[in-house]
Amino acid sequence: MTDTQKLKTISGGQWLISPVANTKVFCRETFSEDHQDIDAMIQEFVKDRILPNVEAIDKLDKDLSLKLLRETGELGLIGVDTPEEYGGNDLDKITSCIVSEGMGRGGSPSFSCTFSVQTGIGSMGIVFFGTPKQKEKYLPKLMTGEWVAAYALTEPTAGSDALSGKTTAILSEDGKHYILNGDKQFISNGSWADVFTVLAQVDGDKFSGFIVDRNTEGFEVGAEEKKMGMKGSSTTPLKFTNAKVPVGNLLYKVGKGAAIAFNALNVGRYKLAAACIGGSKVGLEHAVKYALERRQFGQPIAHFDSIKGKIADMAVRVYAADSMLYRTVGLIQNAIDNLDKSDPEYYKKMAEATEQFAIEASMAKVFGSETSNMVVDEALQIHGGYGFTEEYPLARAYRDDRINRIWEGTNEINRMIVTGYMMKKVLMEEISLRDYLKGVDDFLATETPDIEADLFLSEKSAVESAKRLASMVFHEALCEYGQDLKHEQQLSEALADIFTYIYTAGSVISRARQSQSSNGISNMSSVIARIFTAESLLEVKSLSNICLNKIFMETIPEDFKDKVVQLESRMTLNTDTISLKQSLADFMFSKNNYPF
């Protein structure tokens, strides 16, 4: 394999122009025995230790949260993917997602936040970019939870525009310190942290990272925010007034702050998706149980078709989010496995390998957070008026979940990233869109395109057509707007959604295909794959129309339109989604949990 070929197979975005579901993808069903054992352990841990403490944590009980944090440290969960020499366990990214998902199942997103800042953004800068001395000093204590970590990027005037921070760092005259001045905003673990990774501009314009100890002279932690949810997580501003940070605490190099910030985000995004999926599974289980218990009109509300539809919609959505997340993490892990561990630049290369899948990580973040958003909303709806009270867990879950569409890059920003990176890959010819489009006429000329016949033949054929339609739309958008596509944000967002539906449909079909055996679970996986494909291709169709009407200013050329119509008709599945949802919901009720 040549180097360029290799790059193509390991880099993100290729699924757009590769045959759907003809290779294996990583998914829950391909977890190793270790993955399963760790999954079981963490689920047991959160059930015993987090779940009973949810309300107490929500009162912002520092001692309790930090005690639980140390317990996770003892189990090795904080250092799940940190090198062993610094007190970690050096396990793969799949395990780190299993841990995040498990925490998401604990019923306390607040604690999940405290934990994930500690294991993720709060310590990752040091893991990836720290000097051996910095690693030795900080990591062992962070991995046990003895020291608490925080990560400070956001400022009052620099939120989404994260690199525009105004906090400055100036080397002192004696060259011993950087003098930091400025404000940070919304810093998780702020009140509790001992160690802060802080981003600041050296000499006004060189964005750089620093490790700041809590007791640093001139550094102050502000008052707790009064938040809508996540009440058990500390969120504060920080203030630097001529704060003296030793030069030895510069992280990586001057001017390399963006690498630190973006690497933390790329990793944070897929882990956030994992936490959202964990939370969604719990929300869905609450809904299933409640629907079976609550009686109206002389029967459990689970018997009503409308409720069945909701349960099935949630199950499909959660299964889909789960499938595309673990496929993504599998791709990332695969790229990491190809690296040489003895390379002194190993961690920096790992950051680059992760960035190769920035598109998929952002899609996972958007799809995951919008899944949990949909689940808390529908699960609350199934609880009726009781869902609106604090007697049941959905009210808190609803508030807590809202932040997920805002942090780790708002979903607006993440959609821009998806389309932006796809655009970059096409312009750099990493994705050969033009070659792919050359084949569209041939594709349309054959009655039955060459697709491996299996249970999902119709679904796969339909997705093949959808990929061609999406590519045509994307290509036209690039021809019309070029680099300026990024300023056409509504169009970019629609494209990001089209890409996400296609990637996710492929992930769901692959997973369902791989988990075929004779049991009920696998039958239901096929049902889910059929529902999800049918519904998401309808979305792709309508989004494509919206895009084309914009690109061609309401007059789509006839020959182009002709192809669109042909592709659209091939994308239209005659799946009876309503009946499938009835049987899926009945299955969910018979299991009384989330069984996938």
Partner: protein, 256 residues
Amino acid sequence: MKIAVLVKQVPGSESVLPILNDETWVDESLVSFIMNPPDNFAIEEALLIKEKAGEGEVVIVSMGPDRVKKTIKEGLAKGADRAIHLEEDGQIETDPLSISKSFSTVLKEENFDLIFTGLQSDDTGMGQTGVLLGEMLGYSTATLAMETDVQSDSIRVKRELESGWFQWVKLPMPASISIQSGLNTPRYPSLKGIMGAKRKEIKSIPVSEHRVGSKMQTIEKVFIPQTSKQTEMIEGDADSVATRIVEILKTDLKVL
């Protein structure tokens, strides 16, 4: 200090329990299995004793088909040093005497100082294996230990008696002791433990090498208890009604 912990894999309390057509056992292919919860406390007690002594060995001993390896691994992941697996194929043995004979055949060579069991297994709930095994090996035995205190060549245990009474007994070692649930807080396996478990030894003993003699006890029928509502109208004068009520409270409900 060499401690064996007998650990059983049993159907989880949340598992479905479909009964086989011949009504002799449940359909194991549909059951989800877990470590017998009381055994978890026995493992923890053994690990605590070893950690306090600063030396020694904790060995997980389990009998059952291949599936029990998962439970064995859980014990190893929590910190046990090695394991012995008494293999079974086909239907599992449920007669405590036969089970104890198997264990004694295998364990007599090992010369354990202590053998711990959970107070009972959550499937058949016999609670006899530890005592029977102790007798067969000539070990001193005690049941329902709520606290342990290891001394040089003996162990003191606090036993739970009836009606809130306790008893401290001192047993010369070697001893076989069943551990009361709740006396400690069992640990979770750490990530290191889980990853390290696969490098630990699991010695497998084929069924032909441990099953001896014929069984004394077989299960005749497994069934879900029938719930039935029976209403008895007590009629007559006040005295005879009162007498009947007292009789019911004494003999049927056994609350007097």
